[in-house]
Symmetry: D3
Subunit: 290 residues, 6 copies
Amino acid sequence: MENILKKAAWLNEAMPYMQKYHNKTVVVKYGGSAMLNEELKSSVMRDITLLSAIGINVVLVHGGGPEINSMLARLGKEAVFIDGLRYTDAETAEVVAMVLAGKVNKGLVALIHSNKGRAIGLCGVDAGMITAERIERETDLGFVGIVSEVDPACISMAIDRGYIPVVATIGADKSGQVYNINADTAAAAIAGAMQAEKFITMTDVAGVLADQSDESSLISEIKTEDVPELIARGVIAGGMIPKVESCVTAINEGLKEAAIIDGRIEHSILIELFSDRGNGTLLRKYHQLK
Amino acid sequence: MENILKKAAWLNEAMPYMQKYHNKTVVVKYGGSAMLNEELKSSVMRDITLLSAIGINVVLVHGGGPEINSMLARLGKEAVFIDGLRYTDAETAEVVAMVLAGKVNKGLVALIHSNKGRAIGLCGVDAGMITAERIERETDLGFVGIVSEVDPACISMAIDRGYIPVVATIGADKSGQVYNINADTAAAAIAGAMQAEKFITMTDVAGVLADQSDESSLISEIKTEDVPELIARGVIAGGMIPKVESCVTAINEGLKEAAIIDGRIEHSILIELFSDRGNGTLLRKYHQLK
Amino acid sequence: MENILKKAAWLNEAMPYMQKYHNKTVVVKYGGSAMLNEELKSSVMRDITLLSAIGINVVLVHGGGPEINSMLARLGKEAVFIDGLRYTDAETAEVVAMVLAGKVNKGLVALIHSNKGRAIGLCGVDAGMITAERIERETDLGFVGIVSEVDPACISMAIDRGYIPVVATIGADKSGQVYNINADTAAAAIAGAMQAEKFITMTDVAGVLADQSDESSLISEIKTEDVPELIARGVIAGGMIPKVESCVTAINEGLKEAAIIDGRIEHSILIELFSDRGNGTLLRKYHQLK
Amino acid sequence: MENILKKAAWLNEAMPYMQKYHNKTVVVKYGGSAMLNEELKSSVMRDITLLSAIGINVVLVHGGGPEINSMLARLGKEAVFIDGLRYTDAETAEVVAMVLAGKVNKGLVALIHSNKGRAIGLCGVDAGMITAERIERETDLGFVGIVSEVDPACISMAIDRGYIPVVATIGADKSGQVYNINADTAAAAIAGAMQAEKFITMTDVAGVLADQSDESSLISEIKTEDVPELIARGVIAGGMIPKVESCVTAINEGLKEAAIIDGRIEHSILIELFSDRGNGTLLRKYHQLK
Amino acid sequence: MENILKKAAWLNEAMPYMQKYHNKTVVVKYGGSAMLNEELKSSVMRDITLLSAIGINVVLVHGGGPEINSMLARLGKEAVFIDGLRYTDAETAEVVAMVLAGKVNKGLVALIHSNKGRAIGLCGVDAGMITAERIERETDLGFVGIVSEVDPACISMAIDRGYIPVVATIGADKSGQVYNINADTAAAAIAGAMQAEKFITMTDVAGVLADQSDESSLISEIKTEDVPELIARGVIAGGMIPKVESCVTAINEGLKEAAIIDGRIEHSILIELFSDRGNGTLLRKYHQLK
Amino acid sequence: MENILKKAAWLNEAMPYMQKYHNKTVVVKYGGSAMLNEELKSSVMRDITLLSAIGINVVLVHGGGPEINSMLARLGKEAVFIDGLRYTDAETAEVVAMVLAGKVNKGLVALIHSNKGRAIGLCGVDAGMITAERIERETDLGFVGIVSEVDPACISMAIDRGYIPVVATIGADKSGQVYNINADTAAAAIAGAMQAEKFITMTDVAGVLADQSDESSLISEIKTEDVPELIARGVIAGGMIPKVESCVTAINEGLKEAAIIDGRIEHSILIELFSDRGNGTLLRKYHQLK
């Protein structure tokens, strides 16, 4: 009994956050451990379903690197990376599309349905959602694209009807050629196009660390204006750079805040949304800081 | 941290119930200690606001006997009760209307707004919501009415626009004469007219007790078919009779379930809605029992 | 028969005015003799119902000073006025709210229903309609507020569904504390927020008089630009000042015209709306005068 | 001043009737003197505009025999009548269509607009509103049709947008051949298809008379069940038969009442709608009589 | 079989044009041989119906000079032309209205219905669509008007409900006086008011010819900026001047293109809309030319 | 020029069919050669886009056996068939889902977009569209499912917004387990659930043949009542049986007609929809036959 009272009390604590996000859109870039660990994966899908059940519109955007690598390996294709980007020949592009939009995406949809949520799996090709352009580089990367335009109409349509949109980040150019697109970048572009209330991206670290060898050195808030200097000083480095940059993109497109959260923790999305403490590193514009 | 995880876990536990009631209507008859004790009152208003924030449509129906008595006393009018029903002369009817619709009702609305909820205070006179008829008895009761018709259009209108309807149970007859109406009866009639998902009425006991001297003898579920016998046997007695009868009315009007809950417990509405255990006594039709 | 023809003829005379106001909103500040005299009161409520029946949206805003005084007297509280404003302690504020929102307001609603109109009684606390702020003065007035913001959404909602909104002018601050607010000021603010077609305020004199001892000296039209000089010269004086100022406020908020009418005359609202002659004093901006 | 009060008083008298017909549809078959006399014509169009201005949806259905005769005469075609029905050869059918839908109809529309009303002129050919069938008789009548089906969708569309529909009663068969159709019959069929609140047809007598030589012998109400006997007894005779039959048709299609009114009286429609006394003869079903 | 394949192939050819015009509005000024020749007339009505059947919204605007002349002759009225414009006395104005709105207009509507299309016949008087003003000239032309304002609301209403609007170009001034209005001018004004995708006007020549004696000298595209010079040089002359000017008007009102097409050719509207080659002369702004 | 006229003429020929299917839904089961041959595939996608461009709502339902086999072969998994049905172990089920929903489905979507159509790729898992149940047989087939329920809400949503829904026929049971489902069966169930105007299934033969060795023996129409006898007699045999049965299912669900068409012919869908001759074999109920 006492137990129940405690629970109810906490619901009350979370209320201001629920009011803040009610009928608002939150774009979550899902990936890393939270996607590889089956238990965490189930837990995240439950959390997403919960958010939908209380009237918060989550758009779940995902990549799927490990599953792609595993399928390429089974097909005898070697994954080639150039400057950290996957070299994508025509056959690889096809495998990427197939794994992301057919396996990972629909798998997440099914998982949400097993929690009695209602989801719809889309990819950037559907309804012309993501128009891609080939990345122009000295070293050709093949069919690796950047986002040239986002039309979020079909995502909004799904939300209007009460479905949770699950989005695989492939896109096509005008000719119909499909491209592999970085999921962080695509998610941020979608968040911007939808003028979401918040953009959240999941990582496998605690957030941006002042000292990368010390998880307790978490920087809990960064002004987007300070990002270039933090990169120059090496505080933001390696795989954290594209994460931070996707957040900066979302904020430059008009969002109030973006967060890099620790996907290794269970319920990390709920913690980020429903507590003052948050989780990981929050990015905002200077003048928006408290 | 551990604390946060526990909280998130419980949200997950509550999810199936949140899904069950999402975008559904729950009519709550509010009264008793939960209305007299200022702390409990604040707590209930927060809970109601919370339910609204997560997309559950609560209709809060209230009486206000003690406040009426206190105002009558200050005005030098003695409260006269005949068979447990207040004798209501013209002046008393006016005081009842004024206290319920002007003081109690708008006070609850203001309290909800202080929690950043959005409420609208209505009474049975508004939009012709409750048409009353004078009770015909041997001993005249004055302007004490019974509900002859409910038009819930203005309650639905409020819900459609996202307001929490707070309803004071006075009604008027065709000539415009205002009547004092029993709040339990009116609340049940409203629940029926709205085809609500659930009707909840708050009391100051644990629920229906097998042995009224022993709160641990709570009967947690009653088939409406068994009510007459339970009354005959004296298990349901005194003030519990109208409570149970209002639940039976609601179920006969088509509701799936109605609950008599213990308003002395904090968060009793949340407990009733969001846990399997529930709270107090649940009434259902025979064939609907598990 | 001749009689009927005369009547039909007049309906035709009134047609251009009916066309002018069809589906438009007219905010009426109701008060004075028209509220105290039971016959006039019934007559005004019939007129309001008539306007609704022919497709003109009236918002009826009322005060209720005499009823408040009478209730305070019965409760043994002495009414204290400072500079013509009621000193309002916490208990008085509660009585004001109760009498206005519970007695006067719902009484008017019931009266409209007895004419087969459909009305809904609201106060400034409902749906956060009127946000009030404490008046800052050297001599503290207690809980006397000024309007800091009007959100007319719930009034519009009522109109959209065909209800006549009847509004009691109390408001609450962000903390939920209820304030007594001047009804003329509140009515003008509501008219402005709704961008009404016209604002009408009822008085107990013929209108603005050039010579206050001579009712035949009525000034039938005043340019808002000339108001300051008329006050300086003492033509507009005493209780007429806040009346005129509420009209100026409404016009400054964008209304085309505002009228101070003689509430002692039966059907004064119909006369103002449906004849060229009008009634009392009309206020318009200079460049809008014929 | 006294004058104005009288006028306002009468508006109040008319209110219950205005409430009765607000947002309801009244189909008026317009014809006879009210159409030939220019002053009466202007007056009727003003009355129709007035009804629209106060939220009553009038559908004005008209014939135009005299104008047709005059045009046929000018074109050197002789009007031929067989059993009171115009023999209509192909050329005559064309003239009928042209005069009704082009001259009379659009003339009425223009007249309504000169009163600042908003009307739209339609004929039975538009949107397939009236499907006609050739009358099968021993003596061929040419292109004289009966109504085989009414699709009132385009009339409803006009009403929904606030236009007064003015309808010329020609119709076409499936092949596109245009037919001359009796206006009373067509108007009654339209009233039935729209489930109008009332059907009114204008004549040049006081109504159904017990003694046709005595206008004071007006029968003010007839039960439709009694019509056959009244025809058999010769009380309903001559041109009154199709009038009464159109009323019976409308009532059989589900209308509550139909009235034959005296179009020679100014404002006869207003008198019929807005006074208890009515005008002419009212037809209702037996069980609907008071 | 081979035949069917060819047909299907062509549908595919036409697809980009169908996509271009899907759910868009095209205003067609219909007249000349296409209106006089019964076979062409049937064919045009079929084409219009076809366009409607595939989701292209055609507004058919028509004149009817020859039919007017013929009716005036039959009525013994001589047609008088001043500078190519019909002198229109009151009686003539009436005949014009009657023939255009009653005979020609409803005849076209019936023809569309015989193709199972759904049309509605309107004229400029309906719903105040075309407000006309008397042309002021030294030599009085009687009731010949120019368009002073177009309110396309009733045309849009018809389109929204899936009807093909057929419009006769008469208009009325504020007093209700009906005017004869040039159909090209009116059609262009309607196209402008509706912000149509395209304006098409039908003539009895191949288009604008460089050498008027040589139909092979067709100028297939003209920049509106070059029109004054082409008129000065006599390339655009005679009856072609008002045609070209109506196109210029439409383009100045914001349309992307306007075309003068050869109405003597069967299916000329389809050819213009569904092939790259087009038909006749296309007018566009300089900077819009390929 | 003559060429253009011929084309326009044919459009006119097709009009009655276009009217018949305008704003109606046609479910096409796509497969066989039309899917394997790249040219035919492009051609079908163009045809589908064309139908959408002229306002006909096509739902494209596809399987993809050959692509699945090829992927299984590349992954070193042998395809096992039992009684013509693929034995589907867990891994195979995953490959089926991935290939159908990720590769084939999104490829078709991209192809439609390259024709400037707007499509959205869905599978039976999305929005719980297809609830599957394991087929119960003596010989276990693994994850081969039958359709137990179709919820077409997300297909309708796509159509409402103007998207062409492309549907891959996998489904999930309540636990989220994905099943391989026969595409003909699923397509027919979808057609039934949507109450489509027509169901079309593509094959690689001319239709149902009286003599299977003679393509000229095509039976162009079959009454569903006669199907059992035709199967018994061996006229309908082999792979044609499930095709015919899917048509019978669709008709039993309330469709007026279903057709088995020859997908080897270019534009076979257009031919079926837009000509009287049709294509292949049409199935209807007895009483619906001409």
